[in-house]
């Protein structure tokens, strides 16, 4: 018995790596929280015999990982940061895949009255006017950058905000937990919101302004900068992500009867 137990320990330590081809893709928390990955990964594995390893991080860190050559490609949603990434020569090109949208979530009582706001800028202005608690991601992610650009569009600067503006420096899920606990307003992507399990008193209050659309793009890491990246696998994956099959899977993905993503890759 004792030998068996020790043998089990030993084999546990020696047991090694998987065999199918592997590549690493940095994706954003909002993409991963949507649950779409769980639909796509098994299909990718079946079609390409590719073990796609997802690193779930904010857009800021995803781009850092790509710049350092620690991943083979990134799938992110912050166009300005993506263009900077390309200008630095870190990525070979940028391919738009799909988009979803951001929504304004807040307490059911809606003290700032953003349900009646005519656009996103007006909604933010009324939150700032009332000084209602507002949770910001504050982690340099794509969602955070989007939020900052929305404040800028509303002619407001978060630097000068009072204590009601709370930058938590955390991922989408953790930020939603915080907002639920404080009954605060927050900007989230629709997918994370629908999949979120701890909604509490929070409700979806405002959505639909075209500025809230959120474009996801796929950027393979340049093999000029980092010769070790798996360019060929990254190309195969790109071809798959822009295929008719991916289109049907992405457009057909629903949570609670709502479609989340719109496929818009140029085929």
């Amino acid at each position: 018995m004792k030998q068996m137990l020790l043998g089990a320990f030993a084999s546990l330590m020696l047991s090694g790596a998987a065999l199918a081809e592997e590549m690493k893709l940095a994706v954003t928390t909002s993409f991963h929280n949507s649950g779409l990955a769980e639909v796509l990964l098994p299909e990718i594995k079946a079609d390409l015999d590719l073990d796609l390893q997802l690193l779930v991080v904010g857009t800021g860190q995803a781009i850092r990982l790509g710049e350092a050559g620690d991943v083979d490609a990134i799938l992110v949603h912050s166009q300005r940061a993506e263009e900077k990434f390309l200008a630095g020569g870190y990525g070979s090109h940028r391919r738009e895949i799909m988009y979803n949208d951001f929504v304004f979530v807040g307490p059911g009582s809606d003290e700032a009255g953003i349900q009646e706001a005519k656009d996103a800028a007006a909604a933010l202005q009324s939150i700032a006017e009332v000084g209602a608690p507002f949770v910001s991601r504050g982690d340099d992610s794509g969602t955070h950058k989007k939020e900052l650009s929305l404040w800028a569009a509303a002619n407001l600067d978060p630097q000068g905000f009072g204590a009601w503006y709370r930058a938590v420096g955390a991922g989408m899920g953790a930020a939603l937990n915080t907002a639920a606990g404080m009954e605060a307003y927050i900007i989230a992507d629709r997918a994370s919101w629908l999949n979120f399990g701890n909604k509490g008193n929070l409700k979806l209050l405002f959505a639909g302004d075209p500025v809230l659309f959120n474009q996801y793009a796929y950027l393979p890491v340049s093999s000029d900068k980092h010769p070790h990246v798996k360019t060929e696998l990254a190309q195969q994956l790109e071809a798959w992500l822009t295929s008719d099959k991916a289109r049907d899977l992405i457009n057909g993905y629903q949570i609670e009867g709502e479609a989340l993503f719109v496929f818009n890759a140029q085929q």
């Binding site: 320990f9 546990l12 330590m13 690493k24 390893q53 779930v56 989408m172 899920g173 953790a174 937990n177």
Partner: protein
């Protein structure tokens, strides 16, 4: 409160049905932490014995530094290991970032000071008992170290278990260097962080209970293997 109950129910079902993902991440947790523990013990225990039997100039400083490093924040260790192992870091060519090996390296760094400090405390006392005897027998330094390590094995087991406890429950460092990749580097603690992020507290708590049960099981197994705490053997 309802979450806590849900969590217990969820943990129960995960265990009873031997959920495949659960088994996988549990085995990986064990693999990473036990490997780290074995390596750390190989470094820390001889170091502790050496610090007890040998007087050298930087001994005090070494001991003080080891004691201070017991409180090393795991996330800082993770970040340092990350910078070294990143493709643009000095050890980037090895391609170790986001592998279980990277997680093992980080955990070794975290628990070596802890194991060495605790082991040194008990070996030092043992040495004060053995000092005259071993010197009068004219034992060589390596013989002294061996004698101390063997006769102090019960206390050293405690030191090792403390290291195990710190490593198995650690999340900051392995999240940074492992990346929490499904089917590659996801372990119990990073899975708990992930489920918390999704707002699925019941699942997170369920995994937490599994982690606690695992820690207890490993401790019991080690005591049983070492015959400690059994009659006439202490």
């Amino acid at each position: 409160m309802a979450d806590l109950l849900d969590g217990m129910v969820r943990a129960f079902w995960l265990l009873v049905t031997l959920d495949r993902d659960l088994v996988e991440i549990t085995l990986r947790s064990l693999q990473v932490t036990l490997t780290a523990l074995a390596i750390a013990a190989l470094i820390a225990l001889p170091l502790a014995a050496l610090l007890s039997v040998r007087r050298f100039r930087l001994r005090r400083v070494t001991i003080a530094v080891l004691n201070a490093l017991m409180g090393l924040p795991p996330v800082v260790v993770g970040l340092i290991v990350y910078v070294f192992l990143s493709r643009s870091g000095p050890l980037g060519v090895l391609g170790l970032l986001f592998t279980p090996t990277a997680m093992i390296i980080a955990q070794v760094i975290i628990i070596v000071p802890l194991i060495a400090s605790i082991a040194h405390q008990s070996l030092r006392e043992l040495w004060s008992d053995y000092h005259d005897l071993l010197i009068s027998m004219n034992a060589t330094q390596s013989q002294r170290i061996k004698a101390l390590l063997w006769d102090g094995r019960r206390a050293l087991l405690t030191a090792a278990l403390a290291g195990f406890g710190r490593a198995i429950g650690e999340v900051g460092a392995i999240m940074v260097v492992g990346g929490n990749i499904d089917h590659a580097t996801r372990v119990l603690t990073t899975a708990i962080a992930l489920e918390t992020g999704k707002g699925d507290f019941a699942m997170a708590l369920g995994l937490g209970f599994v982690l606690i049960a695992l820690a207890i099981a490993v401790n019991l197994a080690i005591h049983w293997l070492g015959h400690t705490e059994s009659e006439g053997r202490w």
